[in-house]
Structures are given as C-alpha cells and as structure tokens.
Amino acid sequence: MNQQIFEKVSVITSYNHEKNQAIPYKIRWRLREYFIKKLSYHHKMRQGRDLFHIFHVTDGNLDFKLHFNTEDLTWILEEVSDGNTD
C-alpha cells in the first residue's frame, strides 16, 4: 500500500564526512519512531529558487519518501509504502 501523507515530521540526520553523505537516521511520525536502515535514493529538486532534497529511505518494513526544504529547513513526510498492492 502506498499512502500520500504530506505531514511535517521530526528527523535526526547523520553526516559522514568520509563519504560526504547525509542520511536521515531516525524519523518521529505520529508518536512513533522509525530507525532508518538504508538510504535507497537521494536526489535534489528545484521549485523556482527553492531547493528540496528528497530522500527515499527504509526502516526494513516501510519505505518513506522525505522532503527536506532547504529554504525553511522543514522535513515533510511525503509518502509511506509497505510494498504491497493498494
């Protein structure tokens, strides 16, 4: 099931200076915490002059699509998917 969420979430990120890579480490959404196991894909997107970083991450059970707005430094949980049929 794939669900569009578009809610602000709390995110802790970790930065690895050797790989020069920032990855969300933990998400807090609707009073539950999800520990991120893997970054599946990261890309950037522009809407006008606003730059967004989009992180596709997984905690092993659920896949999350996170939106980081570099203009106002907010994290939006855009989508959650469990990989099953809708």
Binding site: K44, G48, D63, S81, T85
Partner: protein, 407 residues
C-alpha cells in the same frame, strides 16, 4: 551494387536501462523489489502501462497494456504513478557516468543513450571492458537495483539490436563475425524499425527472416520492397554501416491531455486548453521561437476524432496569443460532442529575432516582453506563480509526464 559487411572494429555502444521507470521505482522503494510492478500513466483500470518491472514482464505483462489487463494476468499486481523528477535525476546521473568515457553521447530517450568511441582515447580500453565498468558504476553510483543492457557494434542499429539480445543485464557485441548467426536466430520484428506492416511488406517479397532480409539484393530492397532510398539505407544498415547518425531539429511543440471527466462544457474545455497553452508556450518561448502554425485535435467520447491545423499570418508567442488562435480553430467544429482528449501543437517555428514587427499593433512587443518576464518569475519562484486567471484552480490537473523517446 554489392557492398560487403562492414569489417571495421565496433565503435558504437548502445546502453538501455532495463524496465527503466519500474526499476527506478524499485530502487527508491526497496519494498517493491522482486515483485510484479507496473508504472502506469494513471493507476485507474483504464490507465496505460508505461513500464512493467522485470518480474511483471516474466508474467507476460507488456508496455501499452491497460492496468485492467495486467490485473487479469496477475490480480495482485502493484500499480504506481510515474515519478518524472526521480526518473530525470537517474537519467542525469546515467548520462554523467557515460560522459566520463566518450564526449560523443546522444540520448535517444530517457533510458537510452548511444555513445561513439571513434577516435576517443577510452577506445583503447576495449568497449567490452568499458561496458562492464559502466554497468558496475550504475550499480554503485546510481543504485544497486539499476541494471542495463549494453550493445556494441559498428552502427547504431546493430548496437541497439545487440542491446536487446539478452535482457535483462546483458552485454553483447555484434561484428562481421557473428552478424549472420545473430540474424538467423531472431525474427524480423526484433529488428528496430520493422514492425508488422514492414514485416508484411517483406513477407510479400518472399523475405521471412532477418537473414533473408540481409541477403536480399540492394536493388530488390530499393526498387521492389521499400520503393525508395529507404531500401538502400536498410541495405547499408544491415551490413553495419552508419546511416542513422544525423541530427534532427525540432519542428513543433505539442501537449495533450486525456480528460478525467469527459465534457462538452466550453468553460471546462477552455481551462484545459489554456493550461495546455501555458505549458506549450513555456517550452516554445524557452526555445526562442514563435509559431505560425497551430493545430488542435479532439477525441470525442464516441472515439471519433476531429482535428484542424492552420497557418496564421501573425506568429504566436505568448500564451494568450496561442490560446486565442487555438480557440479560433476550436470554434470551427461543426458538431460539439463530448470531448475525451485534447491535443494541441504549434508548428512552422521561426526564431523570434527574425520576426518583422507589425505596423498596426503597437503593444505586441510589450506583451511579448511581459510574457518573457513572467516566465522568468515562474522559473525563479516555481511553476504557475503567475498564471492566467482561468487556470488558477487547476494546479494538479495535467501532470508532468515523460513522453516516449523524449527526456
């Protein structure tokens, strides 16, 4: 005239991402990996499948099928919308990796590039080694689920054929040594550019497989089968000579939209046409051209089709100029039926700088400048920050899509 097989060393490489849209979706969503998945233009039962995953292809689900047909084959099929931003990002990374090996790169579509290694220092490494290295880099730099097919040959046609021989994740070389054996193991429709109609034409001349096609005389192909220079091109193409290395120029811009809710309400249709004009106009203006020709096509709910094109004396450049010209054509319909699809295009493009100014309309230049300024604002602050008032309430109608063969 008989020409031998091209015995030159292969210098053309064709790279094709496997099940592009679906594989990229599986890369971004690990929960979808290993499962039959289709990417459809719309996730509704009538939505057209743009890309089935490798697992779905194994079940017999093909590109172009409807979602409901795929659901008949496999009821638990996962259906997803395309994510153009994600796919374009993968394309950029894919292209960047290829650029490390050759400067002569031509993207053929969002998931295909052709590289030429003639006279390129990397050629010394060997194209097979380069192909293997590119495959590895795709996995490490784009994502571990991304695989591609690599085809190597002396021309683009044979390189593409080589890339289609062992899917997924294959690497094949076609040269003068194995050319005949490859032709004897495939069907005519496996050749790029030959579909059922050309197949029927070849069959009627007694050619039933690619080997016979290859062995056919040039005069037979040119005079009897294709009845044009196309026959000569096929003769060369099949022997490994390059005939497809030409640059094509854009002659038109177009947009279309299949209506979610079919209607004959003029106000609703005006809104859709305006939004299509805005999208088309943005592309037209970004190219620095204006258009003398306008075309409108309408598909009605009874599947009948009406279309009309017209060349105007004054060129269209701004969205409102395009819109007003399209509405002139729209009003030429003799019967107003319920519309299910709208397609607009503009043609006869000329650079804006070459246009003669009108003696009678004073503010044309001003309106065009305003239009360019509005585009700049939208580029900076986001699409539709400034937009025609008529489309203000339809932000999510007419979504961004990647057209076949485009980027």
């Amino acid at each position: 005239m008989e020409i031998p097989i091209n015995k030159a060393p292969p210098t053309v490489m064709h790279i094709d991402l496997n099940s592009c849209f679906a594989t990229i979706e599986q890369q971004a969503h690990p929960g979808l990996r290993g499962k039959p998945l289709v990417i459809a233009a719309y996730p509704t039962p009538g939505g057209c499948i743009l890309a089935p995953s490798i697992e779905a292809k194994k079940l017999g689900i093909k590109t172009g099928m409807r979602v409901r047909e795929a659901q008949v084959i496999y009821p638990k099929i996962i259906v997803r919308d395309p994510d153009p931003v994600l796919v374009r990002d993968v394309h950029k990374k894919f292209r960047k990796i290829c650029e490390d090996y050759s400067p002569y790169i031509v993207p053929k579509s969002i998931d295909e590039v052709v590289m030429n290694f003639a006279g390129v220092p990397a050629f010394k490494k060997g194209l097979k080694n380069i192909g293997m290295e590119i495959k590895k880099r795709f996995r490490s730099e784009i994502g571990e689920w991304i695989s591609c097919n690599v085809g190597i040959s002396t021309n683009r046609f044979l390189a593409k054929l080589a890339a289609s021989l062992h899917k997924p994740d294959g690497l094949d070389i076609i040269d003068y040594q194995n050319l005949k054996s490859i032709y004897s193991n495939i069907k005519l429709t496996d050749l790029n550019g030959i579909n059922i109609r050309f197949e029927a034409r070849l069959n009627s001349a007694g050619i039933s497989n690619p080997l016979e096609f290859f062995l056919a005389k040039e005069s037979v192909l040119r005079k009897q089968i294709f009845k044009s220079i196309v026959g000569h091109y096929w003769y060369l193409r099949l022997r490994g000579y390059e005939v497809d290395d030409f640059e094509s120029y854009r002659k038109s811009f177009g947009q279309d939209y299949a209506l979610a809710k079919k209607t004959n309400d003029i106000n609703e249709l005006k809104k859709i046409i305006m939004k299509l004009c805005e999208k088309m106009g943005r592309r037209l203006r970004a190219s620095g051209n204006c258009a003398y020709g306008i075309h409108l096509g309408l598909v009605y709910s009874d599947w009948s089709f009406w279309h009309h094109g017209h060349k105007f004396k004054c060129p269209a450049f701004t969205t409102s100029e395009l819109f007003s010209k399209i509405m002139i054509i729209f009003n030429r319909q003799t019967v107003r039926k319920i519309v299910s699809k709208v397609a607009i295009s503009c043609f006869e493009l000329k650079p804006l700088s070459d246009i003669t100014l009108s003696l009678f309309e004073n503010d044309v230049e001003k309106r065009r400048k305003v239009s360019i300024a509005v585009d700049k604002i939208n580029d900076r602050y986001g699409e539709y920050v400034i937009a025609p008032a008529i489309i203000i309430d339809m932000k999510n109608t007419i979504l961004d899509r990647i057209a076949f063969g485009k980027i």
